[in-house]
Symmetry: C2
Subunit: 360 residues, 2 copies
């Protein structure tokens, strides 16, 4: 077996060690004679897996006890509706910051349930930056303020946490959760699709302050009511048990690696190297404002776009895969999530230098 270096934006690379453990115990978990997939979610075995995963995530992110941690289905796209359905709480409007494609999707869905006030947008900048705190024109009567901490497609990341006073701050952290330390107390609700930095697709993690629960819109389906899930320990119905188990293995791996602080240092180093390689050359380019360059998703272009196909096919032949940019923007993109080793970035840079030499 030769494992490739995988720069996929999501579903994305998982740690080799995690896949190896999942493989070893696939048919026989902990000598129980069953796969973890074949066990009732209410069995002692699975409940212990589920509780340990939650505890490990709480440890990794230092999640305070007045926050619930939910393991849900449906992806961030389901959250786009669940947010207004649960968090309006009698308000008629919510504030949204628009920094790109994922912000826009969140805004479009929320607009079906309330008045959406765009408190800042970088669309005129072709979404190549994030607004500053001073740019935000906040509505003190908003139910909440929503932003996307890292735009996976544009490669734009906030370099600060917006300050919103008494209005709860809500963040789509799908592509940068667990990549660097944060203070959970600054947020009312954090959500993340698992398939980037947590585990396989089909799991969504929600971290929500408990005083925001319990006042959903009348038409809210039971499965869209955070409180229903919180009270049932995310087992209102059968949860995605294998994805939850695998996320738990990733959390254990993160702890063994030294936790989020250690990973953050590695992530910063990985990203800095790659941006330096891009900046040192006129052959490659990245359009994002320096202060907002994502440490997780690095889009880049070739000065001569006609070379893109050659770049991608030669990279693939060199064992560097899934470097194609999102279909909506083109170009290249290297996603550098926690599970992408520094050696992968080194190999990519080496390839880029060589490709430039041969094609410049």
């Amino acid at each position: 077996m030769t494992r490739k270096y995988n720069f996929s934006a999501g579903p994305a690379a998982l740690p080799d060690e995690v896949l190896k453990q999942a493989q070893e115990e696939m048919s026989d978990w902990q000598r129980k004679g069953l796969s973890i997939m074949e066990m009732s979610h209410r069995s002692d075995e699975f409940v212990s897996v589920a509780e340990q995963a939650e505890q490990d995530l709480r440890d990794l992110m230092q999640i305070p006890t007045n926050y619930k941690v939910l393991f849900l289905q449906g992806g961030a796209t389901s959250q786009f509706a669940m947010l207004p359905m649960n968090l309006l709480r009698g308000h008629s409007a919510a504030d949204y910051i628009n920094t790109g494609i994922w912000s826009k999707k969140a805004i479009a869905e929320a607009s079906r349930y309330c008045d959406v006030n765009i408190v800042a947008t970088t669309e005129s900048d072709k979404f190549c930056s994030a607004p500053t705190q001073e740019d935000l024109v906040l509505n003190p009567n908003a139910a909440y303020v929503h932003y996307t901490s890292n735009e996976t497609i544009g490669g734009v990341q906030f370099d600060y946490v917006p300050q919103t006073g008494d209005v709860p701050l809500v963040v789509d952290m799908s592509s940068d959760i667990l990549s660097q330390p944060i203070d959970v107390n600054q947020f009312g609700l954090i959500y993340a699709g698992a398939q980037k930095n947590i585990g396989p697709a089909g799991l969504t993690v929600v971290i929500v302050r408990d005083n925001l629960l319990g006042n959903p819109l009348a038409a809210t389906p039971s499965m869209y009511d955070y409180k229903v899930h919180a009270e049932a320990g995310s087992m209102h119905n059968t949860p995605p048990t294998f994805a939850w188990y695998l996320a738990g293995l990733v959390f254990k791996w993160l702890k063994a690696k030294g936790g989020v602080e250690t990973l953050a240092a590695i992530n910063l180093r990985k990203a800095a190297k790659l941006y330096a390689a891009i900046d040192q050359s006129d052959f490659y380019g990245n359009p994002v404002a320096i202060r907002n360059r994502s440490i997780m998703n690095v889009p880049f272009t070739l000065a001569d776009a006609r070379l893109e196909n050659a770049f991608l096919s030669q990279a693939e032949a060199a064992g560097l895969v899934n470097l194609q940019g999102h279909r909506s923007v083109g170009g290249m993109r290297a996603s550098l999530y926690n599970a992408v080793p520094e050696a992968a970035v080194d190999a990519l840079i080496e390839f880029m230098v060589q490709f430039e030499k041969e094609n410049a």
Copy 2:
């Protein structure tokens, strides 16, 4: 490794061969150097897996071309809301048949969106039977008629498909899909959580006639709109890729076994043996009307309930696991899904005979 005989009601047993293949290619799918979990859902590789799974399911169930097959998240519990949200289409009422715990959950959620007319209930019979066609008092103006073809907890299965004239028939087939041949044309919509007869938890299959799509209630979240998923090939957002892949392996396994007809013959034989063993003894009992005895879930009691713990612990020691009845009803339950081999049933019967000898 010693694999146990697993009678879990769900998440449930998976075929040994399927787990073995998933294990072998866990870190390196088809020599691509990546896990199938680590690939974009829009990659050629995953799209081929997804399309093949759909085609194999279409072949197995002979699904007509005017039906869409959707691979969704959220379980049957999400369907309980999606049904009225999508299928009312201007109607104000829907018909529901009540045969037990799962029917009741579907009814409770639908009641939040429309007038629910209970067209028949077997509650006075303690849910130990299903109503006959003659028992059904149907409303010709109902948006649809809903029933649960097999009550997983009660072990009650319909022995016919209700005839509803021009009103679309909707069925929760979570625990008996693919267990016996059906004529899809008799249904407007079929749904099933995967974690019993299809694959791992976290995937829900919906088979829906295309003329029922496209008129959801105003408050319906995008992710609850069947048409949105149908038009996107179930990739409106990132689907649960590993669960979809694993379901595909199960469909291939079913085809290799000879398809649904072959499995149905085995399933009937497995169930008949176990019911015969129960009926031949006063030591064991099953309260369900003979014509409605489920071929998938066989609940049974001991004449002396004080022996239940001994039965369960000795069964487990003999390699027969997850025989405890649902916490809401107690007693024992053996779920005999497709992946439970006939040898497991033989071993269970042998154990039951021996246990009776020692304890009667």
